[in-house]
Symmetry: C2
Subunit: 406 residues, 2 copies
């Protein structure tokens, strides 16, 4: 983030996308603070410590079927001597040749070595006839099959999803220790921006990056974002940026970065001693991406164009947030998929292209202009094409970054 | 949902997965109520009406670059007569051979027909020399390029994502009309289940489906779920189920469905006149899936096994919820991906297998038992294999249902 003269000088030292991401992650500081929270509130938090199981799961030999538990004998006929329901605190003794009625989830008596499903049994009063070949321990879930006491149930660094909550709840876990989430501020700059609800004058547009990034952060589990709007006034910009950086872990500035002579933001960041890590990346969209640090606070300067801002958010800001939380998986999930049509690249920068996975392939969408966020609404993925790609043929595998989806 | 005798009779009329989903969607009632909400709160809601743009976007001819706006002439030298910043309410008149300094996002004067980027211009006092071949309207975003006044900005049925909020905010939209979200209750049954915080007796396990489904619903944008626990007592089950069905749009019962002789839930649903649409699907996991209706309320009986319950939730309950909201996209996103290893199917039911997309393919995970929710934590997809599949070879494309991801 430089005044115009410096921007020109820097044009030659633009870095590549891999270096940019590496630098972001290198400078991302893990937040020290951990908090103990209720498991039910833990969605999207990152585990700060392993969760160790305090029990076997299942905690007893468990019937996997509605049927009959047998103490096997050479005969196919068994005397029915009782019943065990799910939840029963009973462990009836069985002699060879005896059976109990049993239900899914119920504890299998210690003396039983087989469960036969009810469909394979003929019942005649207090006698049953088994019509199946018996195999030792069939239809019995062994104690500790899923996990044993003392084992690691979930490793630190895991971002908690619904299925994790289910698994931990089944182990009787009620509280877990997670990493505090970074405190995030979005700073919106630009004299052309007015808030919705106002009538536009010639030359003005509605501010949308604040609302968009807040919503996207919320989708990703970051729900306490602050949005601050500043007009292009140097002293005020300097003051507000200084305060915001002091009060937050991550500050995302949008706009004001590539506006040349009127780059109050760049000058202000310099004046308040933000250390520039990089400015400008050989990518499209999002060439004028700024990343810097002050103390432990990470500062991004995203392009003002909404589609470029959103693209940079997913590729660089999101991994930084996960890095602050010491998460295992930092990047959005990506896979390789074949392109559904030939694609010719304009220019030689790396590309992040709004795309749609469908069927066995991925289609690059129209409307790739960095000002046009509309295509993002139709996209479910970003296709990444490395620098100096001039053309990709239909059927070629491309890196397909899956956008957060429902 | 039947007592034991009926379950046996019904075993022959199990339906297939496609029919089951079709019946769920056929019986899903669109909620009539729509609500007007603030755009910023609209994430995950479904649009009930088209959003029509009240403006052109951009609302004026907009510079895509920092540079110079020219009224072209035959010479490559232009007289610099002014400046337009982003947000300036000015439209200077230019004669042929004149230029103004201009910045990204600023309104291009009506009299200018070209913007040249600053890197392609040599400035000498009040004169500039252009070092680029000029093409009409270069670096100018036409008024209404993204959308024109009166056009549909977003169609009804769209589930609102962050990018949509950005796009609508840029059009000055502050409120939208969405479909009310269904009111959801989870009813947990089973005598073997105890709540976390209690010490387990022999035969007991911790209840986890309530917490898991609440979390998964929350991930999908449904944040006001009620969880109700009932012990296997017929009269109480009947009373509570009746009240819950009267008070909610969707009721999800877990457990108590396939427990044979002690199926209080099935009997209670029958007694309170819930109409069975289907019971049992030829699938693994989740064979004992129940779906019924009472009035406009949809009732699911999910298997008590957590992994089976979660699988049925994603495949059947989620589309029903989106159907209640009249969403365009009802199902989770699915693609076709090649399997990374050969896979042999046990039995002839259709399979929903926990899987992991990685690189150019998808890997079916271990731990597919319907009691084991652990593998779901590692999964990012479900692989669907149709009925009667006996083997799938490495490299064959399989239907890969992408789990909600961040």
């Amino acid at each position: 983030m430089k005044s115009q003269g410096q921007v020109k000088n820097n044009a030659n030292i633009m870095i590549d996308t891999a270096t940019a991401l590496e630098l972001v992650l290198l400078h991302g500081s893990t937040l020290v603070k951990t908090i103990e929270i209720n498991l039910k509130d833990a969605l999207d938090y990152v585990l700060a410590e392993h969760v160790i199981s305090s029990m076997d799961m299942p905690p007893f030999r468990q019937s996997a079927m509605d049927g009959y538990a047998l103490h096997t004998s050479d005969s196919d006929t068994y005397a029915l001597v009782g019943e065990v329901q799910a939840g029963d605190n009973s462990n009836p003794d069985l002699n060879s040749g005896e059976a109990v009625r049993i239900f899914t989830g119920a504890p299998v008596p210690n003396a039983a070595n087989v469960v036969v499903m009810q469909e394979r049994v003929r019942v005649d009063g207090h006698t049953i006839k088994v019509e199946e070949l018996l195999i030792a321990n069939m239809n019995i879930r062994p104690q500790g099959e899923q996990i044993k006491v003392g084992d690691i149930a979930l490793t630190k660094g895991t971002t908690i999803k619904g299925a994790h909550i289910g698994f931990l709840a089944s182990l009787g876990v009620t509280k877990i220790t997670v990493r505090e989430k970074p405190s995030i501020a979005i700073v919106v700059t630009g004299n052309e921006l007015v808030n919705a609800g106002t009538v536009l004058s010639y030359g003005e547009i509605y501010e949308s990056n604040g609302a968009m990034l807040t919503a996207v952060l919320s989708e990703l589990g970051y729900r306490n974002t602050v949005v601050i709007t500043i007009k292009d006034d140097y002293e005020r910009t300097k003051k507000i940026l200084g305060e915001t950086i002091n009060n937050h872990d991550v500050v995302i500035v949008t706009g004001g970065v590539s506006v040349g002579d009127y780059d109050f933001v760049g000058k202000a960041l310099h004046a308040i001693a933000v250390q520039e890590v990089f400015y400008k990346v050989r990518q499209k969209p999002g060439k004028p991406l700024f990343f810097g640090k002050k103390g432990e606070t990470a500062i991004f300067g995203l392009p003002g164009n909404p589609a470029a801002a959103l693209s940079c958010f997913y590729i660089y800001v999101y991994p930084l947030l996960k890095r602050c939380e010491a998460a295992d998986q930092l990047n959005l999930l990506s896979i390789l998929m074949p392109l559904l049509s030939d694609y010719t690249v304009n220019g030689d920068r790396a590309q992040f292209l709004k795309a749609r996975m469908q069927g066995a392939g991925v289609e690059i969408l129209g409307g790739q202009s960095s000002a046009m966020v509309r295509a993002f609404g139709d996209a479910n993925a970003l296709v990444f094409l490395p620098e100096h790609t001039s053309e990709v043929k239909k059927g070629e595998n491309v890196k397909t970054i899956i956008l957060p989806n429902k």
